[in-house]
């Protein structure tokens, strides 16, 4: 039985009365706080974040993650270390019990995820990160939903970055291959012209060749000046391109350093990089 009586389905799976499948889980959609000035510090930082999902136990314990302008920051760590949770916390998709999130000289801890989008954050979640029943082009348009100006230039830029998407622009996104879907997902997030891009395991479930290509594209995006905060399973490859790396262990910072430092750190090598 669920704790919330309104969420108790009694295991009912009747498709004729209720739409099945995951429904929205993100918290904080109804948060109505405002940003307050907080000059100093890195461009984007989630500092001393503590919290978990709903009324559940804490998953993050004073975890700190930051990314500077023009940099790529990578979060690595074992399964269940709280990497994705940390990303969601930075984006406001769970209610923090401690710590703060600051972006570009403002404290945005009290903002809802949709307000953070307006502030210039772009997020590509790990799963369900495209609108499968919409066409590729509609996916990009929805990415630009908050923009009331002409976004055709941005779309052209994204088609230049991912030429395959231009070819398939009128196809339903759900019909694309895994790698192409990830390109749609990243493209959707870029449509707002974000000041910072957050990627949660962009290479999950794609073949090594596609993975290499995706990494290339991510570096390309970073070169345009957009800072990137990224969670990656393929720790070695990710740290190679990272300016900054965070190794999370059980919801707190295990090791921190530049990508090269972490790659050279014998302890990190032994525990996460397979020697």
């Amino acid at each position: 039985m669920s704790d919330n009586p309104y969420q108790d389905t009694r295991g009912n799976k009747d498709a004729s009365i209720a739409k099945q499948g995951a429904r929205g889980t993100s918290e904080g959609g109804d948060r109505e706080g405002r940003a307050t000035p907080a000059p100093s510090g890195p461009f984007l930082i989630g500092e001393n974040m503590t919290g978990g999902y709903g009324k559940g136990p804490d998953i993050l314990h004073g975890c700190t993650i930051a990314v500077e302008k023009g940099e790529i920051a990578v979060i690595v760590g074992p399964n269940g270390a709280g990497k994705s949770t940390a990303m969601k916390a930075v984006f406001g998709m769970l209610n923090l019990r401690g710590g703060s999130v600051r972006l570009d000289g403002e404290d945005i801890t009290a903002l809802s995820p949709q307000d953070r989008v307006v502030k210039g954050m772009g997020f590509v979640p790990q799963n369900n990160n495209i609108f499968t029943s919409l066409t590729v082009e509609e996916n990009l348009e929805m990415g630009a939903f908050i923009r009331r100006d002409d976004f055709r230039d941005t779309m052209t830029q994204i088609y230049d970055l991912f030429p395959i998407l231009k070819e398939k622009r009128f196809q339903a996104a759900g019909e694309l291959s895994g790698g192409q879907r990830q390109q749609v997902a990243v493209g959707r997030a870029l449509m707002t012209q974000p000041k910072v891009l957050m990627l949660d395991e962009p290479t999950a479930g794609v073949s090594p060749i596609v993975m290499d290509e995706l990494f290339d594209r991510i570096i390309e995006v970073a070169r345009t000046g957009i800072p990137i905060l990224m969670v990656e399973q393929n720790a070695r490859q990710a740290l190679e391109i990272a300016d900054h790396g965070y190794v999370l262990v059980q919801g707190s910072n295990g090791h921190t350093g530049t990508g090269k430092e972490l790659l050279a750190n014998p302890e990190v090598r032994a525990s996460f990089l397979g020697g």
């Binding site: 739409k19 929205g24 609108f131 499968t132 707002t192």
Partner: protein
């Protein structure tokens, strides 16, 4: 000649009524399927919403008739329709604010919303019966026929007449306009696309800055339009009776499910599949076959596959057959 007579009889008794009924079911099913796609539950109050909208339209029709306003050959109800829609929109938005919104904030499971909609169904049913009573009401005025059977016979010299009632012509025409508008809205406008995006993936819609409350509001507004139009068309074509509207739930749900819940195109296809099967299976084919078959084979019995009282059975049988072969409906439900 016999073939033509048979064809005309077929058009008159099967095709035209089926087409009109199918259009009514389709518009009803569109409302159900939109709520299912976006609010994620089957709305049991939909039949009663239709009844409510029709009731308001009837009230305004009577008012206009008393004031002497009319549309000439067209039913006065058309003039009253916008008021009916507005009344229903107020009712639905009020219901959402007062009832459904709380459950959204609680992130309630869709099946709980289904039970909530049962409560809403009771209340709406009570309101409609309380305000207008339970008896049959006809509110059709203006020219009854586009072509009457006699005029058709005189025109063509055939034995069989083809009567097309104004309400039937109006139903089909309105359905075409409504469906075209709805598809244009869903596929071409920013708000429409955001509704499809929300239906597809709530979390990602939020990440794209789509405001869920706005999507929900627009959905109820569209549903108010669809439900009122479907109800008024049905009422013009047959008559208005609250209990009949409640019973329409079954063929409407069947249409939406046969087509693939959550898929607007499916709702339309489903509406026509259900309507034509009902009419075909419950029609007595003696007359048509009498024309088409050689005399020696002409049937003695009525050749009615099932009595008209079994029309619900037909909706349901079609439903089961479709689900057995295509569990997601004729058109795959949108991300169902």
């Amino acid at each position: 000649m016999d073939f033509l007579n048979g064809l005309v009889a077929f058009l008159n008794f099967v095709f035209v009524p089926g087409l009109a009924y199918g259009a009514q079911l389709a518009i009803g099913a569109l409302g159900v399927t939109l709520i299912y796609g976006i609010l994620r539950f089957s709305n049991f109050a939909h039949g009663d919403t239709m009844a409510f909208g029709t009731m308001v339209t009837i009230a305004f029709t009577y008012l206009f008739q008393n004031l002497g306003l009319s549309l000439g050959p067209l039913p006065t109800a058309l003039l009253a329709l916008p008021f009916g829609i507005a009344g229903t929109a107020l009712l639905l938005l009020g219901t959402d604010r007062l009832i459904y919104k709380f459950y959204r904030q609680q992130k309630a499971a869709p099946v709980i919303l289904v039970i909530v909609s049962m409560g809403v169904m009771f209340v709406m049913n009570g309101i409609v019966r309380f305000l207008i009573g339970t008896e049959d009401r006809s509110f059709l005025d203006g020219e009854r026929f586009i072509i009457s059977a006699r005029a058709f016979k005189e025109m063509t010299g055939l034995q069989e007449g083809l009567a097309i009632r104004t309400s039937q012509g109006l139903t089909v025409l309105t359905a075409v306009v409504v469906v075209a508008l709805l598809f244009w809205f869903l596929n071409k406008t920013r708000t429409g696309k955001s509704m499809r995006a929300f239906s597809d993936n709530e979390d990602l819609a939020l990440l794209s800055g789509i405001n869920p409350e706005r999507v929900v509001m627009v959905t109820w507004l569209i549903v108010a339009c669809l439900a009122t139009i479907a109800g008024v068309l049905y009422g013009l074509d047959k008559s208005f009776k609250p209990f009949t509207y409640f019973q329409l739930l079954l063929p409407i749900f069947a249409s939406a499910i046969v087509g693939g819940l959550g898929n607007p195109l499916g709702a339309i296809a489903g509406g026509f599949v259900i309507a034509f099967s009902e009419v075909t299976i419950t029609y007595a084919w003696k007359k048509v076959l009498g024309y088409w078959l050689p005399e020696s084979l002409a049937p003695d019995s009525l050749v009615q596959l099932m009595s008209t009282d079994y029309k619900f059975a037909v909706s349901f049988a079609i439903l089961i057959i479709v689900l057995l072969f295509r569990p997601t409906g004729l058109f795959k439900g949108q991300s169902v």
